[in-house]
Protein backbone atom coordinates (compact mmCIF):
# COMPACT_ATOMS: atom_id res chain seq x y z
CA UNK A 1 0.00 0.00 0.00
CA UNK A 2 1.19 3.43 -0.89
CA UNK A 3 1.77 5.63 2.10
CA UNK A 4 0.76 8.79 0.31
CA UNK A 5 -1.32 9.83 -2.62
CA UNK A 6 -0.08 12.42 -5.07
CA UNK A 7 2.23 15.27 -4.13
CA UNK A 8 0.58 18.55 -5.15
CA UNK A 9 2.80 21.60 -5.19
CA UNK A 10 1.27 25.06 -5.44
CA UNK A 11 3.46 28.07 -6.20
CA UNK A 12 1.67 31.19 -5.02
CA UNK A 13 -0.51 31.75 -2.00
CA UNK A 14 -3.41 34.01 -2.98
CA UNK A 15 -6.99 33.10 -3.83
CA UNK A 16 -6.30 30.77 -6.79
CA UNK A 17 -3.87 28.82 -4.58
CA UNK A 18 -6.04 28.56 -1.47
CA UNK A 19 -9.24 27.77 -3.38
CA UNK A 20 -7.30 25.04 -5.20
CA UNK A 21 -5.86 23.67 -1.96
CA UNK A 22 -9.29 23.52 -0.41
CA UNK A 23 -10.67 21.45 -3.29
CA UNK A 24 -7.57 19.22 -3.42
CA UNK A 25 -8.01 18.34 0.22
CA UNK A 26 -11.74 17.75 -0.18
CA UNK A 27 -11.13 15.51 -3.18
CA UNK A 28 -8.52 13.37 -1.53
CA UNK A 29 -7.48 13.00 2.11
CA UNK A 30 -4.26 11.13 1.28
CA UNK A 31 -2.74 13.55 -1.20
CA UNK A 32 0.06 15.75 0.05
CA UNK A 33 -0.41 19.45 -0.54
CA UNK A 34 2.42 21.95 -0.35
CA UNK A 35 2.02 25.69 -0.85
CA UNK A 36 4.95 28.04 -1.31
CA UNK A 37 4.49 31.80 -1.17
CA UNK A 38 7.17 34.46 -1.60
CA UNK A 39 5.64 36.69 1.06
CA UNK A 40 6.29 36.50 4.78
CA UNK A 41 2.60 36.35 5.70
CA UNK A 42 0.04 33.60 5.01
CA UNK A 43 -2.72 34.06 2.45
CA UNK A 44 -4.84 37.20 2.48
CA UNK A 45 -7.04 39.05 0.04
CA UNK A 46 -4.83 41.23 -2.14
CA UNK A 47 -7.91 43.23 -3.07
CA UNK A 48 -8.06 44.48 0.51
CA UNK A 49 -4.60 46.03 0.72
CA UNK A 50 -5.83 49.48 -0.29
CA UNK A 51 -8.53 49.18 2.38
CA UNK A 52 -5.78 48.26 4.84
CA UNK A 53 -3.79 51.28 3.71
CA UNK A 54 -6.79 53.51 4.44
CA UNK A 55 -7.40 51.87 7.83
CA UNK A 56 -10.75 50.58 6.60
CA UNK A 57 -9.77 47.06 7.60
CA UNK A 58 -7.45 45.97 10.39
CA UNK A 59 -4.36 43.80 10.02
CA UNK A 60 -6.16 40.83 11.60
CA UNK A 61 -9.05 41.30 9.21
CA UNK A 62 -6.70 41.48 6.22
CA UNK A 63 -4.68 38.39 7.12
CA UNK A 64 -7.65 36.07 6.79
CA UNK A 65 -5.84 32.72 6.61
CA UNK A 66 -3.82 32.05 9.74
CA UNK A 67 -1.50 29.09 10.10
CA UNK A 68 -4.30 27.10 11.67
CA UNK A 69 -6.18 27.27 8.41
CA UNK A 70 -3.35 25.39 6.71
CA UNK A 71 -2.91 22.98 9.61
CA UNK A 72 -6.61 22.09 9.65
CA UNK A 73 -6.35 21.04 6.04
CA UNK A 74 -2.94 19.35 6.44
CA UNK A 75 -1.33 21.75 4.00
CA UNK A 76 2.41 22.18 4.24
CA UNK A 77 3.12 25.91 4.06
CA UNK A 78 6.42 27.49 3.06
CA UNK A 79 6.50 31.27 3.48
CA UNK A 80 9.18 33.64 2.13
CA UNK A 81 9.90 31.00 -0.49
CA UNK A 82 10.42 32.12 -4.04
CA UNK A 83 10.40 29.68 -6.94
CA UNK A 84 13.48 30.05 -9.14
CA UNK A 85 13.12 27.32 -11.74
CA UNK A 86 11.06 24.31 -12.70
CA UNK A 87 12.38 21.05 -14.09
CA UNK A 88 9.39 19.37 -15.74
CA UNK A 89 11.35 16.26 -16.67
CA UNK A 90 12.29 15.38 -13.08
CA UNK A 91 9.17 17.03 -11.64
CA UNK A 92 11.11 19.33 -9.33
CA UNK A 93 11.07 23.00 -8.42
CA UNK A 94 14.08 24.90 -7.11
CA UNK A 95 13.17 27.68 -4.74
CA UNK A 96 14.98 30.16 -2.56
CA UNK A 97 14.15 30.06 1.13
CA UNK A 98 16.00 32.29 3.63
CA UNK A 99 18.85 32.77 1.18
CA UNK A 100 19.25 29.03 0.65
CA UNK A 101 18.22 26.95 -2.31
CA UNK A 102 15.71 24.22 -1.65
CA UNK A 103 14.36 21.50 -3.90
CA UNK A 104 10.67 20.57 -3.98
CA UNK A 105 9.28 17.67 -5.94
CA UNK A 106 5.79 17.34 -7.35
CA UNK A 107 3.44 15.02 -9.13
CA UNK A 108 1.15 17.89 -10.08
CA UNK A 109 2.24 21.51 -10.05
CA UNK A 110 -0.05 24.53 -9.90
CA UNK A 111 1.36 27.90 -10.89
CA UNK A 112 -0.65 30.60 -9.13
CA UNK A 113 1.97 33.32 -8.83
CA UNK A 114 -0.26 36.17 -9.95
CA UNK A 115 1.20 39.35 -11.33
CA UNK A 116 3.44 42.21 -10.30
CA UNK A 117 3.33 45.95 -11.06
CA UNK A 118 4.97 47.30 -14.19
CA UNK A 119 7.66 49.96 -13.85
CA UNK A 120 8.93 51.93 -16.82
CA UNK A 121 12.20 53.74 -17.55
CA UNK A 122 10.44 56.99 -16.77
CA UNK A 123 9.61 55.75 -13.28
CA UNK A 124 11.95 52.89 -12.31
CA UNK A 125 11.42 50.92 -9.12
CA UNK A 126 13.11 52.45 -6.09
CA UNK A 127 12.66 50.75 -2.71
CA UNK A 128 13.01 54.14 -1.02
CA UNK A 129 10.34 56.02 -2.92
CA UNK A 130 8.91 54.49 -6.09
CA UNK A 131 6.93 51.32 -5.51
CA UNK A 132 3.84 49.56 -6.78
CA UNK A 133 0.79 48.54 -4.79
CA UNK A 134 0.33 44.85 -5.07
CA UNK A 135 0.93 43.02 -1.83
CA UNK A 136 0.90 43.28 1.93
CA UNK A 137 4.46 44.57 2.07
CA UNK A 138 3.65 47.39 -0.37
CA UNK A 139 0.65 48.39 1.72
CA UNK A 140 2.67 48.28 4.93
CA UNK A 141 5.42 50.36 3.32
CA UNK A 142 2.98 52.98 2.06
CA UNK A 143 1.35 53.07 5.46
CA UNK A 144 4.74 53.77 7.03
CA UNK A 145 5.61 56.42 4.44
CA UNK A 146 2.22 58.02 4.98
CA UNK A 147 3.18 58.73 8.59
CA UNK A 148 5.88 61.20 7.60
CA UNK A 149 5.21 61.98 3.96
CA UNK A 150 2.69 64.65 3.06
CA UNK A 151 2.34 64.13 -0.63
CA UNK A 152 2.27 61.24 -3.09
CA UNK A 153 2.14 61.08 -6.86
CA UNK A 154 0.26 58.10 -8.25
CA UNK A 155 0.96 57.20 -11.85
CA UNK A 156 -2.12 55.65 -13.45
CA UNK A 157 -5.78 56.16 -12.54
CA UNK A 158 -6.79 52.55 -12.89
CA UNK A 159 -8.50 50.51 -10.24
CA UNK A 160 -5.43 50.19 -8.02
CA UNK A 161 -4.29 53.78 -8.58
CA UNK A 162 -7.56 55.32 -7.50
CA UNK A 163 -8.01 52.98 -4.56
CA UNK A 164 -4.48 53.77 -3.43
CA UNK A 165 -5.20 57.50 -3.68
CA UNK A 166 -8.37 56.91 -1.68
CA UNK A 167 -6.43 55.01 0.98
CA UNK A 168 -3.66 57.59 1.16
CA UNK A 169 -6.15 60.45 1.46
CA UNK A 170 -7.72 58.64 4.39
CA UNK A 171 -4.23 58.63 5.95
CA UNK A 172 -4.01 62.39 5.49
CA UNK A 173 -1.61 62.29 2.55
CA UNK A 174 -2.18 64.52 -0.45
CA UNK A 175 -2.60 62.21 -3.42
CA UNK A 176 -2.04 63.43 -6.94
CA UNK A 177 -3.11 60.99 -9.66
CA UNK A 178 -1.79 61.31 -13.21
CA UNK A 179 -3.49 59.42 -16.03
CA UNK A 180 -2.60 59.12 -19.68
CA UNK A 181 -6.16 58.37 -20.82
CA UNK A 182 -9.06 60.85 -20.92
CA UNK A 183 -10.99 58.70 -18.40
CA UNK A 184 -10.31 57.04 -15.07
CA UNK A 185 -10.68 53.33 -14.25
CA UNK A 186 -9.59 52.26 -17.74
CA UNK A 187 -12.15 50.07 -19.41
CA UNK A 188 -14.66 50.24 -16.59
CA UNK A 189 -16.06 53.65 -17.46
CA UNK A 190 -17.09 56.09 -20.15
CA UNK A 191 -16.67 59.89 -20.15
CA UNK A 192 -19.81 60.54 -18.09
CA UNK A 193 -19.12 57.85 -15.48
CA UNK A 194 -15.53 59.01 -15.26
CA UNK A 195 -16.67 62.60 -14.71
CA UNK A 196 -18.89 61.53 -11.82
CA UNK A 197 -16.15 59.47 -10.20
CA UNK A 198 -13.61 62.29 -10.50
CA UNK A 199 -16.13 64.74 -9.08
CA UNK A 200 -16.71 62.52 -6.06
CA UNK A 201 -13.05 61.70 -5.46
CA UNK A 202 -11.82 65.27 -5.83
CA UNK A 203 -14.52 66.51 -3.47
CA UNK A 204 -11.95 65.32 -0.93
CA UNK A 205 -9.45 68.14 -0.51
CA UNK A 206 -6.46 65.77 -0.56
CA UNK A 207 -7.18 64.10 -3.90
CA UNK A 208 -6.27 65.62 -7.24
CA UNK A 209 -6.66 63.87 -10.60
CA UNK A 210 -5.05 64.99 -13.83
CA UNK A 211 -6.05 63.28 -17.07
CA UNK A 212 -4.39 63.24 -20.50
CA UNK A 213 -0.94 63.53 -18.97
CA UNK A 214 1.92 61.18 -18.33
CA UNK A 215 5.22 61.01 -16.53
CA UNK A 216 8.34 61.07 -18.72
CA UNK A 217 11.01 61.10 -16.01
CA UNK A 218 11.47 60.66 -12.26
CA UNK A 219 14.49 61.74 -10.26
CA UNK A 220 15.43 61.88 -6.62
CA UNK A 221 16.26 65.31 -5.28
CA UNK A 222 17.29 65.59 -1.66
CA UNK A 223 14.58 63.70 0.19
CA UNK A 224 11.96 64.27 -2.54
CA UNK A 225 11.03 62.61 -5.79
CA UNK A 226 10.54 64.95 -8.73
CA UNK A 227 8.52 63.79 -11.72
CA UNK A 228 8.56 65.47 -15.12
CA UNK A 229 5.32 65.42 -17.09
CA UNK A 230 5.06 65.14 -20.86
CA UNK A 231 4.26 68.85 -21.10
CA UNK A 232 7.52 69.69 -19.33
CA UNK A 233 6.07 70.67 -15.95
CA UNK A 234 7.69 69.25 -12.86
CA UNK A 235 6.11 68.27 -9.58
CA UNK A 236 7.65 66.87 -6.43
CA UNK A 237 6.33 64.45 -3.85
CA UNK A 238 7.55 62.45 -0.88
CA UNK A 239 6.96 59.21 -2.75
CA UNK A 240 5.58 57.81 -6.00
CA UNK A 241 3.25 54.86 -6.58
CA UNK A 242 3.29 53.16 -9.98
CA UNK A 243 -0.03 51.67 -11.04
CA UNK A 244 0.05 51.59 -14.80
CA UNK A 245 -0.60 47.88 -15.06
CA UNK A 246 0.64 44.47 -14.08
CA UNK A 247 2.75 41.73 -15.58
CA UNK A 248 2.20 38.02 -14.88
CA UNK A 249 5.00 36.49 -12.76
CA UNK A 250 6.31 33.75 -15.04
CA UNK A 251 10.11 34.21 -15.05
CA UNK A 252 10.80 30.99 -13.16
CA UNK A 253 9.08 28.98 -15.92
CA UNK A 254 11.75 29.90 -18.50
CA UNK A 255 13.16 26.76 -20.03
CA UNK A 256 10.22 24.54 -19.15
CA UNK A 257 8.81 24.80 -22.65
CA UNK A 258 5.50 26.16 -21.36
CA UNK A 259 3.87 28.45 -23.91
CA UNK A 260 3.95 31.93 -22.47
CA UNK A 261 2.95 34.96 -24.46
CA UNK A 262 3.10 37.53 -21.67
CA UNK A 263 0.52 35.31 -19.92
CA UNK A 264 0.61 31.55 -19.56
CA UNK A 265 -1.44 29.68 -22.12
CA UNK A 266 -3.88 27.26 -20.51
CA UNK A 267 -6.86 25.24 -21.67
CA UNK A 268 -10.28 25.03 -20.04
CA UNK A 269 -8.88 22.45 -17.57
CA UNK A 270 -6.19 24.95 -16.53
CA UNK A 271 -3.48 22.74 -18.04
CA UNK A 272 -0.47 24.53 -19.46
CA UNK A 273 1.30 23.19 -22.53
CA UNK A 274 3.60 21.18 -20.22
CA UNK A 275 2.26 17.91 -18.73
CA UNK A 276 1.46 17.99 -15.00
CA UNK A 277 1.84 21.79 -14.81
CA UNK A 278 -1.35 23.76 -14.28
CA UNK A 279 -1.89 27.50 -13.94
CA UNK A 280 -4.66 29.61 -12.43
CA UNK A 281 -5.38 33.23 -11.59
CA UNK A 282 -3.73 36.44 -12.77
CA UNK A 283 -0.80 34.53 -14.21
CA UNK A 284 -2.77 32.99 -17.08
CA UNK A 285 -5.49 33.65 -19.62
CA UNK A 286 -9.17 32.80 -19.23
CA UNK A 287 -12.02 32.44 -21.71
CA UNK A 288 -14.55 35.20 -22.32
CA UNK A 289 -17.80 33.44 -21.45
CA UNK A 290 -19.62 34.70 -24.55
CA UNK A 291 -17.02 34.93 -27.31
CA UNK A 292 -14.90 32.06 -25.89
CA UNK A 293 -11.86 34.13 -26.82
CA UNK A 294 -8.91 33.77 -24.47
CA UNK A 295 -8.47 37.07 -22.69
CA UNK A 296 -6.49 38.39 -19.75
CA UNK A 297 -9.18 38.90 -17.13
CA UNK A 298 -7.24 39.37 -13.91
CA UNK A 299 -10.08 39.56 -11.41
CA UNK A 300 -10.70 37.80 -8.11
CA UNK A 301 -13.75 35.69 -9.15
CA UNK A 302 -11.85 34.27 -12.14
CA UNK A 303 -8.85 33.35 -9.98
CA UNK A 304 -11.08 31.66 -7.39
CA UNK A 305 -12.90 29.61 -10.02
CA UNK A 306 -9.76 28.73 -12.00
CA UNK A 307 -8.01 27.53 -8.85
CA UNK A 308 -10.91 25.22 -8.13
CA UNK A 309 -11.08 23.88 -11.69
CA UNK A 310 -7.32 23.25 -11.68
CA UNK A 311 -7.64 21.35 -8.41
CA UNK A 312 -10.37 19.04 -9.71
CA UNK A 313 -8.25 18.23 -12.73
CA UNK A 314 -5.09 17.78 -10.66
CA UNK A 315 -6.94 15.22 -8.55
CA UNK A 316 -7.97 13.34 -11.64
CA UNK A 317 -11.49 14.63 -12.30
CA UNK A 318 -11.20 15.88 -15.86
CA UNK A 319 -14.95 16.43 -16.21
CA UNK A 320 -14.67 19.85 -14.56
CA UNK A 321 -13.86 22.67 -16.96
CA UNK A 322 -13.93 26.45 -16.70
CA UNK A 323 -16.61 28.16 -18.76
CA UNK A 324 -15.08 31.61 -18.38
CA UNK A 325 -16.31 34.97 -17.25
CA UNK A 326 -16.79 38.55 -18.34
CA UNK A 327 -14.46 41.41 -17.57
CA UNK A 328 -16.17 43.10 -14.64
CA UNK A 329 -15.55 44.99 -11.45
CA UNK A 330 -17.25 46.84 -8.66
CA UNK A 331 -15.91 49.47 -6.28
CA UNK A 332 -16.91 52.49 -4.24
CA UNK A 333 -15.25 55.83 -3.54
CA UNK A 334 -16.75 57.92 -0.76
CA UNK A 335 -20.04 56.08 -1.10
CA UNK A 336 -20.25 56.41 -4.86
CA UNK A 337 -20.54 52.90 -6.24
CA UNK A 338 -19.50 51.84 -9.71
CA UNK A 339 -20.20 48.45 -11.23
CA UNK A 340 -19.15 47.63 -14.77
CA UNK A 341 -19.83 44.34 -16.55
CA UNK A 342 -18.50 43.54 -20.04
CA UNK A 343 -16.92 46.01 -22.45
CA UNK A 344 -18.77 49.20 -21.51
CA UNK A 345 -16.77 51.16 -24.08
CA UNK A 346 -18.01 49.06 -26.99
CA UNK A 347 -20.32 51.90 -28.06
CA UNK A 348 -17.29 54.08 -28.75
CA UNK A 349 -15.98 51.69 -31.39
CA UNK A 350 -16.20 52.83 -34.99
CA UNK A 351 -17.76 49.74 -36.51
CA UNK A 352 -20.97 50.40 -34.59
CA UNK A 353 -23.93 48.08 -34.52
CA UNK A 354 -24.28 48.83 -30.84
CA UNK A 355 -27.44 50.32 -29.40
CA UNK A 356 -27.05 52.23 -26.16
CA UNK A 357 -29.73 52.78 -23.52
CA UNK A 358 -28.93 55.27 -20.81
CA UNK A 359 -30.54 56.51 -17.65
CA UNK A 360 -29.18 59.65 -16.09
CA UNK A 361 -30.24 61.55 -13.02
CA UNK A 362 -28.18 63.75 -10.69
CA UNK A 363 -27.46 60.72 -8.47
CA UNK A 364 -27.60 57.78 -10.87
CA UNK A 365 -26.06 56.92 -14.20
CA UNK A 366 -26.78 53.58 -15.83
CA UNK A 367 -26.00 52.36 -19.29
CA UNK A 368 -26.65 49.14 -21.11
CA UNK A 369 -25.18 48.25 -24.51
CA UNK A 370 -27.20 46.06 -26.84
CA UNK A 371 -25.98 44.13 -29.85
CA UNK A 372 -28.86 42.95 -32.00
CA UNK A 373 -31.15 43.59 -29.07
CA UNK A 374 -29.15 41.45 -26.63
CA UNK A 375 -27.29 43.13 -23.75
CA UNK A 376 -23.50 42.76 -23.94
CA UNK A 377 -22.38 45.24 -21.29
CA UNK A 378 -23.79 47.11 -18.33
CA UNK A 379 -22.50 49.94 -16.23
CA UNK A 380 -24.03 51.52 -13.15
CA UNK A 381 -22.84 54.51 -11.15
CA UNK A 382 -24.53 55.77 -7.99
CA UNK A 383 -27.08 52.97 -7.81
CA UNK A 384 -25.75 49.50 -8.58
CA UNK A 385 -28.51 47.48 -6.91
CA UNK A 386 -29.44 44.35 -8.84
CA UNK A 387 -26.56 44.59 -11.32
CA UNK A 388 -26.28 40.81 -11.22
CA UNK A 389 -29.70 40.51 -12.82
CA UNK A 390 -28.36 42.23 -15.93
CA UNK A 391 -25.22 40.10 -15.80
CA UNK A 392 -27.49 37.05 -15.83
CA UNK A 393 -29.19 38.36 -18.96
CA UNK A 394 -25.86 39.14 -20.64
CA UNK A 395 -24.50 35.68 -19.94
CA UNK A 396 -27.72 33.95 -20.97
CA UNK A 397 -27.99 36.04 -24.15
CA UNK A 398 -31.50 37.12 -23.19
CA UNK A 399 -32.92 39.89 -25.42
CA UNK A 400 -33.35 43.17 -23.53
CA UNK A 401 -37.05 43.36 -24.44
CA UNK A 402 -37.61 40.03 -22.68
CA UNK A 403 -35.41 40.95 -19.73
CA UNK A 404 -37.33 44.14 -18.94
CA UNK A 405 -40.56 42.12 -18.76
CA UNK A 406 -39.17 40.12 -15.85
CA UNK A 407 -40.63 41.44 -12.62
CA UNK A 408 -37.20 41.42 -10.93
CA UNK A 409 -35.78 43.71 -13.59
CA UNK A 410 -37.96 46.53 -12.25
CA UNK A 411 -35.46 47.20 -9.44
CA UNK A 412 -33.11 48.75 -11.98
CA UNK A 413 -33.65 52.45 -12.67
CA UNK A 414 -32.69 51.87 -16.30
CA UNK A 415 -35.65 49.49 -16.65
CA UNK A 416 -38.08 51.38 -14.44
CA UNK A 417 -37.43 54.87 -15.75
CA UNK A 418 -36.58 54.36 -19.41
CA UNK A 419 -39.54 53.51 -21.60
Amino acid sequence: MKAYGRQHLIIGNCIAAVSAAEVLRRQNQDDRITIMGDEEVPSYSRCLITYYLGDMVTRTHLLSHDEKWYRDRSIELHLSTKALSVDPKNHTVIAEQNGKKKKFSYDKLLVATGSSPIFLKSFPYDPDGVIGMRNYRDAATLKRWAQKGKKAIIIGAGFVGLKTAYGLAKQGVKAKVVELLPTVLGRMTDIEASRRIIERLTSHELIEIELNNSVVATRKQRQKYVVTYQDGREEDADFVVASVGVKPCTDFLDGTGAEIKWTIKVNERQETTVPDIYAAGDVCVSPHILSKEWIYNAIWPVAAAQGRVAAYNMSGDSSITYAGNLPMNSVDFFELWITAIGNVQADQAENGGIETIKFQSPRIYQKVLLKQGVPIAFMAVGNVDGAGLVRGAIVAGMPWKDFIKKPQAKVLPIVKEVI
Binding site: N329, D332, G388, V395, K410
Partner: protein
Protein backbone atom coordinates in the same frame (compact mmCIF):
# COMPACT_ATOMS: atom_id res chain seq x y z
CA UNK B 1 -31.63 19.74 0.16
CA UNK B 2 -34.27 22.30 0.97
CA UNK B 3 -35.12 25.33 -1.13
CA UNK B 4 -37.40 28.36 -1.12
CA UNK B 5 -40.41 28.16 -3.36
CA UNK B 6 -42.41 31.30 -4.12
CA UNK B 7 -45.89 31.17 -5.61
CA UNK B 8 -46.64 34.71 -6.81
CA UNK B 9 -50.27 33.83 -7.58
CA UNK B 10 -50.96 33.42 -3.86
CA UNK B 11 -49.07 36.49 -2.66
CA UNK B 12 -51.13 39.57 -1.84
CA UNK B 13 -48.22 41.66 -0.56
CA UNK B 14 -49.29 41.50 3.08
CA UNK B 15 -45.58 41.73 3.99
CA UNK B 16 -45.88 39.45 7.02
CA UNK B 17 -42.77 37.60 5.82
CA UNK B 18 -40.78 40.83 5.82
CA UNK B 19 -42.00 41.76 9.31
CA UNK B 20 -41.16 38.33 10.68
CA UNK B 21 -37.68 38.48 9.13
CA UNK B 22 -36.93 41.88 10.68
CA UNK B 23 -38.25 40.70 14.05
CA UNK B 24 -35.83 37.79 14.17
CA UNK B 25 -32.78 38.82 12.18
CA UNK B 26 -33.09 42.57 12.52
CA UNK B 27 -31.45 43.58 15.80
CA UNK B 28 -27.90 42.64 14.79
CA UNK B 29 -27.74 45.46 12.31
CA UNK B 30 -30.72 47.54 13.20
CA UNK B 31 -28.63 50.62 14.07
CA UNK B 32 -29.59 51.95 10.71
CA UNK B 33 -33.03 53.38 10.17
CA UNK B 34 -32.73 51.97 6.69
CA UNK B 35 -32.77 48.40 7.93
CA UNK B 36 -34.40 46.21 5.35
CA UNK B 37 -35.44 42.59 5.78
CA UNK B 38 -33.52 39.81 4.05
CA UNK B 39 -36.66 38.87 2.18
CA UNK B 40 -38.12 41.69 0.15
CA UNK B 41 -41.46 41.55 -1.64
CA UNK B 42 -42.08 43.83 -4.59
CA UNK B 43 -45.06 44.56 -6.77
CA UNK B 44 -44.71 44.81 -10.52
CA UNK B 45 -47.17 44.93 -13.43
CA UNK B 46 -46.27 41.25 -13.96
CA UNK B 47 -47.21 40.36 -10.40
CA UNK B 48 -45.37 40.18 -7.09
CA UNK B 49 -41.82 38.95 -6.83
CA UNK B 50 -39.35 38.38 -4.04
CA UNK B 51 -35.67 39.13 -3.59
CA UNK B 52 -34.13 36.51 -1.34
CA UNK B 53 -30.97 34.42 -1.27
CA UNK B 54 -31.59 31.00 -2.83
CA UNK B 55 -28.46 29.46 -1.29
CA UNK B 56 -27.22 28.28 -4.67
CA UNK B 57 -25.20 25.10 -4.90
CA UNK B 58 -22.27 26.86 -6.56
CA UNK B 59 -22.73 30.38 -5.27
CA UNK B 60 -21.14 32.98 -7.56
CA UNK B 61 -21.23 35.54 -4.74
CA UNK B 62 -18.79 33.49 -2.66
CA UNK B 63 -16.32 33.41 -5.56
CA UNK B 64 -16.69 37.14 -6.09
CA UNK B 65 -16.30 38.17 -2.44
CA UNK B 66 -12.93 39.91 -2.20
CA UNK B 67 -13.37 40.45 1.52
CA UNK B 68 -13.88 36.70 2.06
CA UNK B 69 -17.02 37.64 3.95
CA UNK B 70 -19.35 35.28 2.10
CA UNK B 71 -18.63 31.59 2.58
CA UNK B 72 -20.30 28.27 2.01
CA UNK B 73 -21.17 26.95 5.45
CA UNK B 74 -20.79 23.35 6.53
CA UNK B 75 -24.45 22.63 5.77
CA UNK B 76 -24.22 24.05 2.26
CA UNK B 77 -25.85 27.34 3.16
CA UNK B 78 -24.28 30.58 1.99
CA UNK B 79 -23.27 32.32 5.19
CA UNK B 80 -21.78 35.74 5.80
CA UNK B 81 -19.38 37.27 8.28
CA UNK B 82 -20.87 40.76 8.23
CA UNK B 83 -17.79 42.20 9.95
CA UNK B 84 -15.65 41.18 7.00
CA UNK B 85 -17.83 42.88 4.38
CA UNK B 86 -16.04 45.89 2.92
CA UNK B 87 -18.91 47.03 0.74
CA UNK B 88 -17.44 46.61 -2.75
CA UNK B 89 -20.74 45.08 -3.94
CA UNK B 90 -19.00 42.49 -6.12
CA UNK B 91 -21.59 39.99 -4.82
CA UNK B 92 -24.39 42.19 -6.07
CA UNK B 93 -22.67 42.27 -9.46
CA UNK B 94 -22.81 38.50 -9.86
CA UNK B 95 -25.98 37.42 -8.04
CA UNK B 96 -28.41 36.31 -10.76
CA UNK B 97 -31.31 36.62 -8.31
CA UNK B 98 -30.58 40.19 -7.28
CA UNK B 99 -30.70 38.90 -3.71
CA UNK B 100 -27.95 40.98 -2.13
CA UNK B 101 -29.10 43.92 -0.04
CA UNK B 102 -26.75 46.75 -0.81
CA UNK B 103 -26.98 49.13 2.13
CA UNK B 104 -25.08 52.21 1.08
CA UNK B 105 -25.34 54.03 4.40
CA UNK B 106 -23.52 51.18 6.12
CA UNK B 107 -21.21 50.48 3.18
CA UNK B 108 -22.09 46.81 3.43
CA UNK B 109 -24.09 44.20 1.62
CA UNK B 110 -26.29 41.80 3.57
CA UNK B 111 -28.09 38.59 2.82
CA UNK B 112 -30.22 35.88 4.33
CA UNK B 113 -28.03 33.39 6.16
CA UNK B 114 -30.98 31.32 7.35
CA UNK B 115 -30.07 31.98 10.95
CA UNK B 116 -33.71 32.13 12.00
CA UNK B 117 -35.37 28.80 11.40
CA UNK B 118 -32.71 26.47 10.18
CA UNK B 119 -33.98 23.57 12.25
CA UNK B 120 -37.42 23.44 10.78
CA UNK B 121 -38.82 26.31 8.79
CA UNK B 122 -37.49 29.83 8.20
CA UNK B 123 -39.43 32.51 9.99
CA UNK B 124 -40.63 34.20 6.80
CA UNK B 125 -42.19 30.94 5.64
CA UNK B 126 -43.85 30.41 9.03
CA UNK B 127 -45.30 33.91 8.83
CA UNK B 128 -46.82 33.39 5.40
CA UNK B 129 -50.47 32.34 5.81
CA UNK B 130 -51.36 32.98 2.17
CA UNK B 131 -49.65 29.87 0.84
CA UNK B 132 -47.17 31.86 -1.22
CA UNK B 133 -43.87 30.98 0.41
CA UNK B 134 -42.50 27.51 1.11
CA UNK B 135 -39.23 25.99 2.22
CA UNK B 136 -39.34 22.40 1.13
CA UNK B 137 -37.21 19.43 0.48
CA UNK B 138 -36.49 19.38 -3.21
CA UNK B 139 -37.29 15.92 -4.50
CA UNK B 140 -34.95 14.31 -6.98
CA UNK B 141 -37.44 15.06 -9.72
CA UNK B 142 -37.77 18.68 -8.71
CA UNK B 143 -34.06 18.87 -8.25
CA UNK B 144 -33.58 17.98 -11.90
CA UNK B 145 -35.93 20.75 -12.95
CA UNK B 146 -34.21 23.13 -10.58
CA UNK B 147 -30.80 22.17 -11.90
CA UNK B 148 -31.99 22.66 -15.46
CA UNK B 149 -33.44 26.03 -14.50
CA UNK B 150 -30.27 27.03 -12.75
CA UNK B 151 -28.32 26.12 -15.85
CA UNK B 152 -30.28 28.80 -17.69
CA UNK B 153 -28.62 31.31 -15.41
CA UNK B 154 -24.97 30.67 -16.13
CA UNK B 155 -22.70 31.69 -13.32
CA UNK B 156 -19.00 32.34 -12.84
Amino acid sequence: MKAFIFKPENCDLCRKCEEACVAVCGPANKQSAEYVPHIRVFQSPEGPYIRLCRHCEEPPCVDACIGESLQVGPNGLVIQDEERCIGCFMCNMVCPHGAMKTVMSQEKAFKCTLMCGTKTTPTCVLACDRGALFFEEVSQHNKKIRRAKLKEIPRK
